[in-house]
Structures are given as structure tokens and as C-alpha cells.
Amino acid sequence: MATIAPERVATTVVLDGVVKNFGQTRVLHDLNLTIRPGEFVSLLGPSGCGKTTALRLIAGLEEPTGGAILMNGEDVTGVPTNRRDIGMVFQSYSLFPHLTAIDNTRFGLDMRKVPKDRARTLAAESLELVGLAALADRYPHQLSGGQQQRVALARALVTSPKVLLLDEPLSALDARVRVQLREEILRIQKELGMTTVFVTHDQEEALAISDRVAVMQGGRIEQIGTPEELYLTPATADVAAFVGLSSLLPATVTGGVARIWGRAVPVIGAAPDGEYRAFVRPEHLRVARAGESGMRGTVEASILLGSSRRTELRLASGEVVAMQHGVSLPPERGDEWLLVVEPAPVVVRPLA
């Protein structure tokens, strides 16, 4: 199994001040990003944020307008795609329709003039790695969407590329297959220790499998950090809004401390004194204990998430807040609860 694991040291990928224009439109502004050897980094953002363009620049499928791309310290900006030694999985339909799974998988080896027998062995191993050894002789049109993406992954991995690039490889799949395959990708990536860049618009997906996530917006990286950092200490309001669910509550900031519903909560980042709205996570709201003061809310709706429950309550001001709590608490529409905010750090946004 270890045959296709890269013998060489995993690669560092650096985007150094990369700028990209399409015609008159600037889609990437001065992008700086260092991806460490063996790291799994996701580029997360809404469509049009530039994440796919960034990936295609690393692949060499687009040329940067400015800046440089380095792999292991070597400037590869002018190196064409076919000599960059990368593996890429596309959104869909990238398998060659006239080749079987195994012939698709060995394509990159044939391009590298690997001897036929060796290529066949390596391709078979790669298919086994993605759990498709049994379907090696099937044509793409005989495979399901999930199976096709596994073959695409095997094909990208078989040459032990310097870096693995994944362009929303799961977005065309059913929810169940999506979760299954993303765990598989994570397992294989850890097994091979290959530097990997993953593009997605699905925050849950990004948080679940990445070592670090870069949240992109309008052609810029808003924040890069571990999933925990992004979730617990979002750097900007955009990140807070995009990653996870929040209720926007009125907050008065004085001296770096926000007062929400009469409670003091630390503020992330610098915020001059004034009136704000704070992003409060559902799990940072709870029902007041006896004797505590809080905000009164009326239960509007409640959904079971499995191991927990999310309930939406309407405040006297008319705002709706979301709160997460244990399943044991049975809410009923119209129930009146007294809510308090936990003192977990919050991000604030100036009032419109």
C-alpha cells in the first residue's frame, strides 16, 4: 500500500502577493497564503469569492496577473500545468469517457512514461486505496457519481504529486455520499501525508476535514485559521456570519467589553466604544437559572438535531434568536423562557 505514498518530503505551497484580473475585473487582490507540508487547507467562501481561481492558479490553469506561486521555495509561476507535478480532482465529469477506471487511473503514469506493468500495478493499488479495486474495468458511464469521483481521486493520487488540488469534488454528490467520501479523502490524505488544497462553499465540510481553513470574500482572504479558531474567534463579521450560525444581538461596547442583555462579554478584536450588534452562537445562549436575570423570549419553533435541539425564540423587541440545548428540555410553542448569554468571546459589527 505504501508504494504510492510519496517518498519525498511533502511540499510547501506559497501564494505570494498573487493578483488576478479577468479583463477589467480584479478577482483576486494581493493573496498571501502559505500551506505547510502535508497540511490540508480549505478555501471556503461563497461563489464568486475567488476560491476556485486561486486553486486554478496553483494548478497553472490560469496565469496570475501579478505575484508569484512557489512550491518548496521554487518559483513555479511560469511553469505550465503539465510540468507542475500536481494532482487535481474536478467538480464533475472529468473522467475520460472512453477509458475504463483503471485506464483513467494510469493516464498520468503513461504521460510520465512509466513502464506498462509498473503503471498497471500502481493504478490498481491506487484504485484499491479509494476502495474501487472491484470496478477497475468499468467505464465512467457505468459508475455512480460518487464512484466516478473516487476514480478521479485515484487518478490524481497515483503519480504521487507534490500537491493535491480538490475543486469542489463533492458538490455534485448526494448528501450521504458526500459525507462518506469526505471522510475517505481525509483518511487517504493523512495516510499519504500529501499537501492538499480543497475548495468548497460548504462550511460544514470545510470545518470537518481541514487542518486550516481560509475564508475568502470578494477576492481576499478574510481569515485563515484552524476550524476551532474560525468558529470560536472569527476575525470579522463576515467570517462570523459565514461560519456557523449566529444570532445578532444588540451590544454596547466599553473598553473592549460588550454588554449584552446586561452581561459582560469579551469582544474579539479592537472595537471603539459604541453601539454594536454581536454575533452570538446558539450554544452560548442558555436558560437562566433561578435568581438570574435575563431576556424573556417566546418559543416559536424547535427542531431536533440529533444529540441536541435548536429552539428559536422571539424576543419582546420582535427579534428572533436561536439557542441550542439538550434534548431533555421539551419546548412547546408559546412557552416563555428567560435567556442569558454565556461570557464566550463575540465578534461585533457596527450598527448599520
Binding site: 505550465p80 500545468t81 503539465n82 504521460m111 467505464y139 458511464h141 487518478r155
Partner: protein, 307 residues
């Protein structure tokens, strides 16, 4: 109108004091099959019966007695020659038309679907490939004939293209107009196949270390091969069955099968046989059936790859 009548009767039902139910019926009245009868009868009368008649008459003589005499005429050297003429003319013009048409499709790659260039080329291709007929013969007589500007210029330069024979009105004269309608037919039939090449394949080829050359040799051409073969067969069938252009150009002689059918239809006897037209029709149908079956089989394979 039976349907409307039944409807009225049903609607009239609950009128006697009962609350009218909303009439939601997703079922047609039983004789829906009747609706298929007019078209079915039409197709039988004007497609099935003529085809069967055309083939069957070859097996009967003027007196209505069964005979294999006409069919055996298919092995007559004169008939064999015309079938051979039709075949090589179709093979040649289909080959040239397929290559030139494929080049046009290639040149159109990357031109957006709604671009005016595409609309104009599609419309031009449709006219020249399918509705030209006699008019193409006139165009070629005017463009290349004895009195054409081309011939005048060439004569001026001392070249007489009609020195050996008046070939434009004979078998070789069919080659230019046939190629002229084959190219646009290729554009129509092969274009969609070329457009279905996915940019991801080119990009995957690059990321896997391939070049532009390997894209075409290892991916593009193999993927397109079945579509190309299918289109070639369709072009062959198109030439093989074409009549109008040849009829207008070659007013005498029966160098190709359709013209021989004309001779058999308009004169009482050809090669001393009555009802030879039926036998020739049988021969043509046999060739067409072979070619079109091949077309359907290859096309099915091609479409599997194209989703």
C-alpha cells in the same frame, strides 16, 4: 368530439341538487387509442405501403406473376456498374465532406452557442445540405459550366477543362456538387459531438502531465471517433440516395442507381425487363438498411460517452 360529449354528460350528472364535485379526472375516456389511428393510417398508406410496394414489385412481372427475374437483374453487369458508381461516388464525397466538415466544426469550437456566426452557419448548412437539390445543379452549371466565369478565365489562360469531355454533365460532374452538400451535412451532424468535448478533459490531461498533442491523440480523437464514423455513414447514405442534383445535371444516361430507377420508371423496359425499378429499389433499400443500421449502432455507443 366524443371526449367533449362524455365530459358534458359527466358534468351534467350532479346538477340534480347534489353538491357539484370538482371534476378532477386525469384519465382520458377509453377510446384514447383511437387518437393514434389517423396518423397510423397515414404512415401506413404513404410510408409503409409504398416501401413494401417498391420492394415487392421487383418480385412480380407485368402480368402479376411471381418472378425472380428482375431481382436477378441486380447481377447484370450494367446494374453492377451503376451500383459501383453510386458506391464510389458516395464514399469519395462522404470522405471529403466528412473531413472538411469536421474541420469547420473544429473551427467553430469555442464560438458561443448563441453567437450570430453559429446561427448563420447552421442556417446555411441546413439549406445547402437538405433543401438544395436541383438548385445546386444550377449553381454549379453557372459557376463551373462552359459559360461560367471560371471557364472563361481558364480558357483565356489556355486551359480547357472541357477538352476531354463535357464532364460536368457526366458522372465526374457530380463530385463537386455532392461534396458541396456533404460538407454542410457534416457540420450539422458532427458539430454537436465536437461541442460535447468537455473543458475538464483538457484540464485533467494537463494536470496529469499531458500536452495538447496527447489531448488530441489520447482523448479527443478517440472520444470523437464513433461520432465521426456515424456521421460518415450518414453522409454516405445521403449521397447514395440523392437524386435531384444528379437528375438536373445529367439529363441523359443512368450513371448512378437513382438515375437508373428514373430510367426504369419512365421507360417501359430497361435491360429488357419490366418492373426493374422495384428490383433497383430493393437493392437501394438493402444498402441503406446496412448503412443506417451501422449508423444507429455506432451512434448509440457515441451517445453513451456524451452526457
Amino acid at each position: 368530439m366524443t371526449a367533449a360529449g362524455t365530459e358534458a354528460a359527466v358534468l351534467a350528472g350532479p346538477a340534480d341538487g347534489a353538491t357539484p364535485r370538482p371534476q378532477v379526472r386525469l384519465r382520458l375516456p377509453p377510446p384514447a387509442q383511437l387518437g393514434l389511428v389517423p396518423f397510423g393510417a397515414y404512415v401506413v398508406l404513404f410510408l409503409v405501403v409504398p416501401t413494401v410496394l417498391a420492394v415487392a414489385t421487383g418480385f412480380f412481372d407485368k402480368a402479376g406473376r411471381f418472378t425472380l427475374d428482375n431481382v436477378s437483374a441486380l447481377s447484370d453487369p450494367v446494374v453492377v456498374t451503376t451500383f459501383w458508381n453510386s458506391t464510389w461516388l458516395s464514399l469519395l464525397t462522404a470522405a471529403v465532406g466528412a473531413l472538411a466538415g469536421a474541420l469547420v466544426c473544429y473551427a467553430l469550437l469555442g464560438v458561443p452557442a448563441h453567437h450570430p456566426t453559429r446561427s448563420v452557419i447552421d442556417a446555411l448548412a441546413g439549406v445547402l445540405a437538405q433543401f438544395g437539390g436541383v438548385m445546386l445543379a444550377f449553381v454549379f452549371i453557372a459557376a463551373m459550366g462552359r459559360y461560367s466565369l471560371l471557364n472563361v478565365w481558364l480558357s483565356g489562360a489556355g486551359i480547357n477543362i472541357y477538352a476531354a469531355s463535357n464532364w460536368l454533365y457526366e458522372l465526374p460532374g457530380l463530385i463537386p456538387p455532392y461534396i458541396y452538400f456533404q460538407i454542410p451535412l457534416m457540420v450539422i451532424t458532427f458539430g454537436p459531438a465536437l461541442d460535447s468535448l468537455k473543458p475538464q478533459w483538457a484540464e485533467a490531461n494537463l494536470t496529469l502531465g499531458g500536452t495538447r498533442w496527447t489531448f488530441w491523440t489520447r482523448i479527443g480523437l478517440p472520444v470523437l471517433a464513433p461520432s465521426f464514423a456515424a456521421s460518415f455513414l450518414l453522409l454516405f447514405a445521403n449521397s447514395f440516395s440523392a437524386y435531384a442534383t444528379a437528375a438536373a445535371l445529367a439529363s441523359q444516361g443512368s450513371q448512378i442507381v437513382p438515375l437508373q430507377v428514373r430510367a426504369a420508371l419512365t421507360s417501359e423496359t430497361v435491360l429488357g425487363r419490366e418492373n426493374l425499378a422495384g428490383a433497383l429499389a430493393l437493392g437501394m433499400i438493402a444498402v441503406m438498411a446496412l448503412v443506417m443500421t451501422g449508423y444507429a449502432l455506432i451512434q448509440r455507443r457515441a451517445e453513451r460517452w456524451r452526457r
